[in-house]
Every structure is written in structure tokens, then in C-alpha cells.
Symmetry: none
Subunit: 224 residues, 4 copies
DNA sequence: CATGAATGAGCGTTCATTCAT
DNA sequence: GATGAATGAACGCTCATTCAT
């Protein structure tokens, strides 16, 4: 129930709506992007051959170069589209009127649901992007910065409204929260530490736990 | 003062002690590992050519193959040595008698100090290892699992002793804490969100903030 | 004045007359040939993509294949048309009644004026044709042979009439004369050895010098 | 007899002397250059695959890249070495004390003998070099300029000594002479206009004819 | 041990040509 | 005729790895 507003949120990260309205040219282009996402997610950017992408997309080799200048541009395009959509949703959450705690909950849910719905996208965004040396390029850094600023805004607004402690640096809090969420995903991808189960119910529990952890802290309250 | 126990801790992560006791053979071998660490850290694993490593080490590049079967094995060796040392220190912290809060503080300080002292090591451990598809191999997963279990133990012991809340899944808490620390480092490496300054004092502050965040939580306490 | 007969000569090398009488189909075809000539002249045959030609011609590049079997055929066609026109004019000069000296002057003027008026055509004829391995094909060789024979005829007729020395092999003389003219052009194209200036007056002077050189020889006459 | 001084001249254009004194490393490098010269001469630069060169040299593909950065560099190296040697000999002729007429004779003989002895070298120098767009690079232009200046010097000195007519621009004369020689070679390469026979005796005759043509001129002398 | 020459599989990219619309 | 999407063979180059000395 309290997650009602998140359903559309998570859906906005999905592409179908936008895709279908595009013309034939973009349809083929999108085929390539989707295929590349799958291939990058499963073999990694470096392990993915352009021919793999073409085969996965069911098109001829050379056609990839009709739509993209080179392999790099494919990754860049995926990043720009997906990351842009993702940060857009986060911006929306940050700009809302709900309490800071709810915003953090929505953010956590967004991340975990996104991985549940589109594991390939998330794998590529989280793992592959940063592998390219391109990650250190100003453009990419700026893109990551956008997310950080958006999340930091949630924290800062919460502090100003008195909901959140003011003695903690908002930037550091934001980094910690993002890092915590990222590791949740990583651990699932790698299966390093399998969470109880992988149902959506598990995600709900994870979300609740993380938010409760960040809001209430670890320390046991001495009950008097 | 309270960091006194950490000095040795941080030093144990450094390699010199172990290195010097080895023979001449190992000296050259270590040269290669050190050179490889620097090269991997600056160009990434995929961007590093074996010849780069050899040049950095000041040896002929055919010689690399006397000491290592192939390029992968160099990375594996670095990982095994550094990660092993690191996890060893974490194990030590986890096994200590100090309060859970102090253990977490030591862990945070260990990570941040390690990056301050040996940025190349940390970059390779954090960024390069997982880029290889080898990261998904059982061996590597198990190595990461060791760290997670060690940290989880800190949490669990704290819960059992009543220091920490019992209603939070220890594994999730551990993931969140590790993720938070990792992101602190990442943000510094990328310069995405520069922390106030980069002195050790800044690290101290970061450590305190993170620990305070995890222990006390974000929520403002209504003071009655 | 003495160049009066050359004006029409040089103009015959130009294409407009012939082009305009052709139908619409040929108009588009000619567009392609003209565009190709410009592109070949500036980037070279190998450096010219079919798409470059199409873009320069302002048409879709698939259309090129409606008019020409392939890229080679475009060059072949340009060669056949331009070279044919050029050799035709040379034939005309060779068949004339004017003295051999005047014929050589007209030939030299034809070549230099042609380059001045249509540098692209000349560049393609002189530089690009022979680069294709096709140049060694019998057809092309025969075309070049036609020019040589025409020029050789000028020399031979002059020898028979007593105007020119008979002790020099007419073929060799003809090769030398053609080579001299070709190098005049080459040096201008490359700017290797800039001639005094590039006005038509300079061409006149060049023509006079070359003819004087070939007729009178280099040796200083001992004046008694 | 009068050609005695030319024997060493022509030999200086050959490489063996220098080659044999080089070490093993250069031997392999030279193998590649020689093989490349043959392949370039027969298939043209663009038609020559790196694998062709490697096969012709009897070495592994990758080894080519051990000695040369890329295919271009091979051609550049051949050009630099051969052209340099050639221009050096021309410089020597130009600097001599012999009469201008003899210098021109030596130059003509040098060119024709070089082609007779090393047709591949000459083909590559004359035909392949200029095909690369690199030919328009300042370096190459300068190299060609060196030859032109050296030949122009022969003419100018002859003019100053009173041996040659002073009313002809030395640069133009030089261009004409070089062009005449180049076309002699071209015609033989292409077989466009087969000279009587291809023996060295034929070369001698060609040399004599060309020199006689340039010195005495075409015009029949009215014998009084 | 040490060197670096030698090997060759592998991959990204280009571009002439074909073809469906 | 006209378009440009689609195809795929071809080739330059890289670089991990081997091997002779």
C-alpha cells in the first residue's frame, strides 16, 4: 500500500512505452541496444564482440555500424538512456513532498525493483560502465554527480525540515546510502551472500531493513 | 589514542615485512607484482599490457612468464595476497573484545586508511578484480564471502551482546556497511563528490560520520 | 594571336557542350561523373567512398549503382570520356598542316591550359588513372598508346618534312616531350617547385620555354 | 668507357653493402623491406596486404609490427632509404667537375640503369609513393624538392659556365629533363611503347638520344 | 635466469555492393 | 527512378604467449 506510488516509478525506468512509438529506424536501433545490453550483462563489455551483439540482435554485422559509430558508442548510448531515465525518477522522488524517510524508502525500492525487473540494465549500469576507461571522462563523472546531488538533496531537505539529524554531512550520508544499495545488488548478482530468497517479498524486506537501519541506526536503544 | 590499535592494523596491510624475508627469486617476483599493481591501478586490467608491466618493473617482458603462467595469474596473485592480508586484519578486528561500535570504527578506519596509504592496492582490489570475468569464479566469490562473513560476525556478536539492534538482518547490515565504505573510496577515486579535504583528519571525520550514521541512524531524536 | 587556334582546342576538352544535349537520365549520370571527378581529384580514387561521390552529387548513394556497375566503372568512364576528348584534340593537332614546331607549341599549350581550366580532370587523368591496377589492363594501355602514337606522328612528320632532326628516335622524342609536360603539371599540383606565378601569362612563358628547349636544345651556340 | 664513372654510381644505389654490415636485427628488418618492395611493385601499395609482405618475407604476420609501426611506415622507410641514396648520387653528379653535358648524361644513365638493375625499387619510388596521400605531406614534398634542386643546380652551373643557354629558366629545364626520364621508365614499365629492345645497349642508346635531344634540340640545323 | 624476437589468433572497423520498398 | 537499410568479406592492427639463444 505504502508502495503504491512506486509502481509507476519503477515502470518509468522501463523502456517499452517510449520504444514502441518510435519509427522503424529506431526499432532496429533499439534492437541493437537491447541485444548489446544482454550481451554486455552476460559477458562484460570487453568480452562482448560486436559480432555477438549482431547475432543476438539477429542482424548483419555491418549494420551495427550503420547505427553506431563504434562499440563504445553503444555502451555510451545505453548508459545515457538508462542512467538518464533512472536519475530522472530519482529527481522526481527528491522533488516530492513526502517525508524524507519515505523518499529514502522509495529510492531503495526503486533500485531493488529495477534490478528485479531489469537485471541486465542494472548489471550494465553498475558493472560495465565503470570498466571502460571512459568512466573517468568528465561526462560520465558528471552523470554520476547528478545522481549524487539528487540523493544529497533528499538528505539536505530532510535535515532542514528537522526530520533528519543535522550533525551528519549530507554528502557522506548520501554516499553511504547509495553504496549500501549498490552492494545489495552486487551481492545478488554475484551470489556472494544469498539473501533469504529472491522474491519481491524479499526485496520488500530488504528495503525495510535498509531504511530502518539508516533511519534508526544500529545501536540498541536502552529501554528504560 | 583510540586509534592506537589501528596503526599495526593498517600496517599489516602493507607488504614490506613479508617481502623482505623472501629470497632473490621472490624479490623479482614481487617487483612484478608491485609494478602490475601500479599499472593495473592506472590503466585498468584490460588496458595494461604485459609489456607495460615489464617496463614498469624494469625487466624483460619474457621474464614475466617465468614467474607467472599468464596475465590473469598476476591479478589473481595480487588479489590473493592483498585480499588475504586485508581479510586477515578484518578477522582480527572481528575476533577482538572491543565493543561492536569500536569494531565498526576500526573497520571503517582500516578501509579509508588503506586507501590513503596504498591507493593503488585499493583501486586494484575494488575496481579491477571484479572486472575480470574471473570474478564470478567460485574461488573469488569465496574470498569475498570470507570478508562478508567476518563483518557479519561483528554485527552478530554485537546483536548477541545486546549492543546492537536484533531486529535487523545481520547480513544485510553487513552489506550496507561494506557498501557504504566502498562508495566512500569510489567517490574519492573518481572525484565525483570531493570530500571536504583529503587529509587524514578528513578521513577521521569520515570515519566518525559513517559510524555515527550506522549506529545512531539518520532520524532526528525528538528530545523531550 | 598565334594561340588563336588553341582557344577552340582547349574548349573542346570541356564537357558542357556534349552534356547539355543529353537527356535527363544522362544529366544525373553526368552529375555523378562530375562529382566523382571532384572527389577523386581531392581524395584520390582509393580515398573516395561511393558515399562521398553520392553526397557530392547530391543523390542517394544506391543510385550510383543504377548508372554504374561499380566504382571502377565510374573511373573508367571518366577516363574514357576525358582521355578520348583529349586525344581527339591531339589527333587534330597532329593532323594539321602547321609546322611541327607550332604543333608542339599547341600540344604544350593544350596540356597546360587544360590543367589551368580543369585541374580536377587533369589530376584524375594524370594521377588517379594509373593508380588503379586497371592501368595495366590492355584497354588502358591501348588508350595511352593512342596518345603516344599521335604525338609520335607529329615528330615523324616533322622529321620527314625536314623540319626536325632525323637522327633522333621519334618514339623517344615523343616520350620525352610528354614526360616534360606531365612533370610541369605534377610540379604545380604538388607545389614542389612553384613556377614564378600561376597566371596564364606564366603558362605562356612555360610553353615557350619548353618548346624552345625541345627545338633549340640546351647547348649554348658558339657564336663566331 | 665514358661510362666508367657511372658503374660505381649505379652501384651506390644498391643496398647490399650497407645491409650486410648490419646486425641480425636489421637483417630481418631488411628482409621485410625487400619483400615489401617486391609486393608493392607487383600489386601496388593498396593492393598489398600486410600478410602478403609477411609471406613474401617468410616471417610471421605479427613480426612485421615488431619492426614497423604500420604499413605506411614500411613504405615511408623504403622511400626514405632509396630516395635518399638516389638523391645522394645525384648530388654527387651535380657537385662534380665534369661538363654539364656529361652530368646530364650521367643522370640519365643513372635513372635508366637503376631501373634495369632494380626495377622494383624504381617502380615503388616512381609509382607507389605518390599514390599514398602521404605524398602531399611536407616531408615527401621536401624530399622531391631535394632532387629537383640538385638537378636544377646542374643546369644553373652549366649556364653560368657558358656551356648551356642562359635564356631558359633552369627550373623548367630541370622539370622537363626529369619528366623525360620518368616517362622513359614509365613506358617500359607499362610496355606502352616498347623500345627496340631492352638490353643495356638499348639503355645506352636511349641515354644518348635523350641527352642529344636536350642539348642539341629537335630543330634540324640548316647546313650551309 | 634473462632477453626480446617470433608467432598467430582474434577483433574492430570499413565500405563496396545488393536489395526491399 | 530513387532511397538508404542491410549485408558480409576483407584487412589492418594488437597483444598474450611461446621459444630460441
Amino acid at each position: 500500500m505504502s508502495r503504491a506510488p512506486l509502481a509507476p516509478v519503477a515502470d518509468d525506468v522501463s523502456p517499452e512505452g517510449a520504444t514502441e512509438t518510435r519509427g522503424a529506424r529506431s526499432a532496429k536501433r533499439q534492437q541493437i541496444l537491447d541485444a548489446a545490453t544482454r550481451v554486455f550483462a552476460s559477458r562484460g563489455y570487453h568480452g562482448a564482440r560486436v559480432s555477438d551483439i549482431a547475432r543476438e540482435a539477429g542482424i548483419a554485422y555491418g549494420l551495427v555500424y550503420h547505427y553506431f559509430r563504434n562499440k563504445d558508442e553503444i555502451l555510451d548510448t545505453i548508459f545515457a538512456e538508462r542512467w538518464g531515465a533512472f536519475v530522472g525518477v530519482v529527481d522526481g522522488i527528491a522533488a516530492g513532498e513526502q517525508p524524507a524517510a519515505e523518499k529514502l524508502r522509495q529510492l531503495a525500492a526503486l533500485v531493488l525493483f529495477a534490478y528485479r525487473r531489469r537485471p541486465d540494465w542494472v548489471k550494465v549500469l553498475v558493472f560495465e560502465i565503470q570498466r571502460t576507461s571512459r568512466f573517468s571522462e568528465p561526462e560520465q563523472i558528471e552523470a554520476v554527480g547528478r545522481l549524487f546531488r539528487s540523493v544529497a538533496r533528499i538528505v539536505r531537505v530532510g535535515q532542514e525540515s528537522g526530520e533528519l539529524r543535522r550533525d551528519l554531512d549530507a554528502n557522506l550520508v548520501c554516499l553511504a546510502f547509495i553504496g549500501a544499495l549498490e552492494t545489495m545488488i552486487t551481492s545478488q548478482v554475484l551470489g556472494v551472500m544469498r539473501l533469504p530468497d529472491e522474491s519481491q517479498a524479499a526485496d520488500d524486506r530488504t528495503v525495510r531493513t535498509v531504511v530502518s537501519l539508516f533511519l534508526g541506526g544500529l545501536a540498541a536503544r536502552s529501554e528504560t
